[in-house]
């Protein structure tokens, strides 16, 4: 009885005290950055006491969701084009855009010794399928086609291309052995600074335009302390050290 009588006050007290305890931020993150982001966020939550809600997906899908009112406050894209597009649409906090990671590409097979740290396997044509991300949709796919072009192997390999809709699926085709060769994000096969399984060739960065991945603070998160803190944290040395262990570079 007493409790019910005091209920309105309890609710108000609860609401008022919330910001002092911890803020929550909802971030949408490009699929290729999944592993790195989870590590960064674990550290961020421990350091700041804030709570982070993560949604992963292809940048294209996240962009469409944001344009249609998704409740994200921070967006980590796989490229620069999509954050710029949102800037033009006026849904981004001005001046918030920065490059949180520069992605690297690897030619990878799940079989040991299949790739001898070079692209001889590609030239030889001795592989069943070459998995790459759809160049129309995914920056890593575009980079893969640039590499093939630079090596003069586009036409020779084209018949063997199989395309993932995003880099996660591209990885899956190779990991399950259905394609014994593929261009994946280095971050997908790297953990604690090492390539953990299969065999690979880390593609020299001269062969493709840099995969600069930009983050933006969306207007929905403008007044959210946790969102602002997360944006700052991503630029800290501590976060960047973690990001490096996943095979990304930073500025």
């Amino acid at each position: 009885m007493n409790l019910i009588k005091h209920m309105p006050w309890l609710v108000i007290a609860g609401l008022a005290s919330q910001p002092a305890v911890a803020d929550q931020v909802h971030a949408a993150v490009a699929a290729n950055f999944t592993g790195a982001m989870k590590s960064v966020v674990a550290q961020f939550e421990a350091d700041s006491g804030h709570d982070v809600l993560l949604s992963f997906g292809s940048s294209g899908k996240i962009l469409a969701q944001i344009q249609n009112g998704a409740p994200y406050e921070v967006f980590l894209s796989a490229d620069q084009a999509k954050p710029k597009k949102l800037e033009e649409a006026g849904v981004v906090v001005e001046g918030s855009r920065f490059t949180y990671a520069i992605g690297a590409l690897a030619l990878w097979s799940s079989q040991p010794d299949f790739v001898q740290n070079d692209y001889a396997r590609l030239t030889s044509g001795e592989f069943n399928k070459l998995s790459l991300a759809n160049p129309k949709l995914a920056p890593y796919g575009l980079a893969a086609t640039e590499v093939l072009e630079a090596l003069g192997l586009t036409e020779a390999t084209q018949d063997k291309w199989v395309q993932g809709e995003n880099i996660a699926q591209t990885y899956q085709f190779v990991a399950t052995g259905n394609a014994n060769l593929g261009f994946v994000a280095l971050s997908q096969i790297m953990s604690q600074g090492h390539v953990t399984e299969g065999s690979s060739w880390i593609v020299p960065s001269e062969l493709y335009s840099p995969i600069r991945q930009d983050a933006v603070l969306l207007k929905k998160g403008q007044d959210n302390l946790a969102a602002r803190d997360l944006m700052l944290y991503l630029q800290s040395d501590k976060a960047q050290d973690i990001i490096h262990t996943y095979g990304y570079q930073t500025e």
Partner: protein, 229 residues
Amino acid sequence: MFTEADLDAIWLTLRLATTVTLLLLIIGTPIAWWLARTDSWLKGPIGAVVALPLVLPPTVLGFYMLIAMGPNGVIGQLTQQLGIGLLPFSFWGLVLASVVYSLPFVVQPIQNAMQALGDRPMEVAATLRAGPWQRFFCVVLPLSKPGFITAAILGFAHTVGEFGVVLMIGGNIPQETRVVSVQIYDYVEAMEYGQAHVLSALMVGFSFIVLLGVYGFQRQSAGMLGVKS
């Protein structure tokens, strides 16, 4: 209005759906007949397996298909030994996956039609000295025709609408695995909403007409049965 890639995708989708429907009618008929007539304890488990694709997310089905058809999977090892190679990223890989995916949509209407017949027509045919095969082909099949037509339409339409499984095992190869639903997905992801609208509208129209046809046909055949009984 349609680009060449769109037309390729439409043609591929129609080819896939036709192949799958024909195969499913051949495979589904004995399964449906058995399920309709048996008293075996296996009826429950087999019926449940057939119905699984109704409730499983296509990603689950696609993921297991990818593994099963892969070099270390059961199907993959079989196809490699037969010299066919690996099935993912090929038209026939999609056919196999779609047969599994659309199986309940074909088996269940046929099974329902056969169950509705009851024992009577079979008994009458037997007294007229019709053998088991003759009874099946001359009595059961014609009388179950409405079930078969519903099954064929639903199997076809469901295969046309397939997406998740194709995405998992297709590899987006033009004229081989890039079906209409994947083409639409690509347009949306690439923010080419105009092209996405054209194909999407086609799918909505197609699906509506198909379902309208099924319901119209079911009402008609229900009416026919009503007059008879």
